[in-house]
Subunit: 234 residues, 2 copies
């Protein structure tokens, strides 16, 4: 049993089609097997429906010859996992995603399957839930989930869409870095700021950062460090 | 029994001292009475300690001749409220604030006192909690509070530090407006985007927006509207 994870900062890079910027990675990730990739539309970006969101993702996958089916079209999440060649949780609102995963029973079914070798892909909110908790999401808490603990497949948290501070801003709202520092006043969990256009690939004990930008690693009590693309351990 | 609220978008406007931009408003708000204004440091901006944060706020208040004392220096939050001429909840992390208010029993004590005429002031996170829920905070969910419901003194939610979308950005993270639209997929509560440098003054049934900028009002299913400064009802 080992993990096979592809965790992307974002689904879409400016000026490119949906999932386009790391297409080679996910087509390879899901090349094996006979069943569909099961899509989890629960994060509902912009409030879009499960069906509409699934159709959007399916279009991108089927253009690459990979069959896809929404998790809600199966009799149960557990049944979906038995037929799946892999699972992809799309981005949207992390709180809505986590609450729906738990309310539907999909949380346990997906967790068991992914820990038992099923290839997983997440983007944005779907990457957030791979971490220890959703405590470093950028999203608004628009619904109240029964917990903040996430799947914990990786022993750190992600902050997708990581944005560097803009030094010329006069806005007094907290920067992303300030928010993550506050997180570390209350949590001793490393946080990886994953910049747009980058993604993680994890197979068992081997982890690699891909894409054109470094990641920023925050640990409690320490100055953040830049982590270049390539293999890493954290 | 009526409410007396001063709800500021931010504590500090760029280039001005702490609480400086609406000093005339809060000195008038807390001019009556003999006891101290009770400061609630629970939101701990940047993880600062209760004592340090209280000292910071006290310096600003005592420079205007208004005595101040931290809520944690009383035997209990209820005792603090009996001695207070008013209460000020400072900004920081909304989740930490709400959780600590509930864990300490201050939530109930402050709620009862404010509903019974005690003048209240909030900035940023301290304004957020005056609304129906913390569901439109910008903060990271760094701790898990037992509820998202807030004081509900006003029948809508606030989004402090409201930022207009930047039309030239290539960043794919959601804009503030997109996030609030997502909130309205799940909640039928009006949201006021309160821009920096503006504040609300509420006395009983009379509400007024102060400051140099309009507020932006979001309601479920409708196009957002700009609300100019001056009296309003919502």
């Amino acid at each position: 049993m080992s993990l096979h994870l592809l965790l992307a900062s974002t689904s879409t890079v400016h000026g490119q089609p949906y999932l386009g910027y790391f297409k080679e990675a996910w087509t390879a990730h899901f090349a094996q097997g006979t069943g569909p990739v099961v899509f989890v539309p629960y994060a509902r970006p912009g409030g879009t429906s499960w069906d509409d969101y699934t159709a959007h993702a399916t279009q991108a996958f089927e253009a690459e010859g990979i069959p896809m089916r929404g998790i809600h079209s199966f009799a149960s999440p557990a049944e979906a996992m038995t037929e799946a060649r892999g699972v992809f949780i799309g981005g949207g609102n992390t709180f809505v995603l986590l609450k729906t995963l738990i309310d539907t029973g999909a949380f346990h079914a997906i967790d068991a399957a992914v820990r038992n070798d099923l290839p997983y892909m997440g983007s944005s909110a779907g990457s957030n839930v791979a971490g220890r908790s959703v405590g470093t999401t950028n999203d608004m808490p628009i619904v109240y989930p029964p917990q903040f603990e996430a799947f914990g497949w990786i022993p750190y948290n992600l902050n997708p869409h990581y944005l560097d501070p803009t030094t010329d801003s006069t806005h007094m709202g907290e920067t992303r870095e300030t928010r993550i520092k506050e997180f570390h006043q209350f949590n001793d969990v490393a946080v990886m700021g994953l910049r747009e256009g980058t993604w993680l690939e994890i197979h068992g004990t081997t982890s690699t950062l891909h894409g054109p930008l470094a990641a920023r690693i925050f640990t409690a009590g320490n100055v953040p460090v830049e982590m270049p693309s390539g293999p890493f351990s954290l």
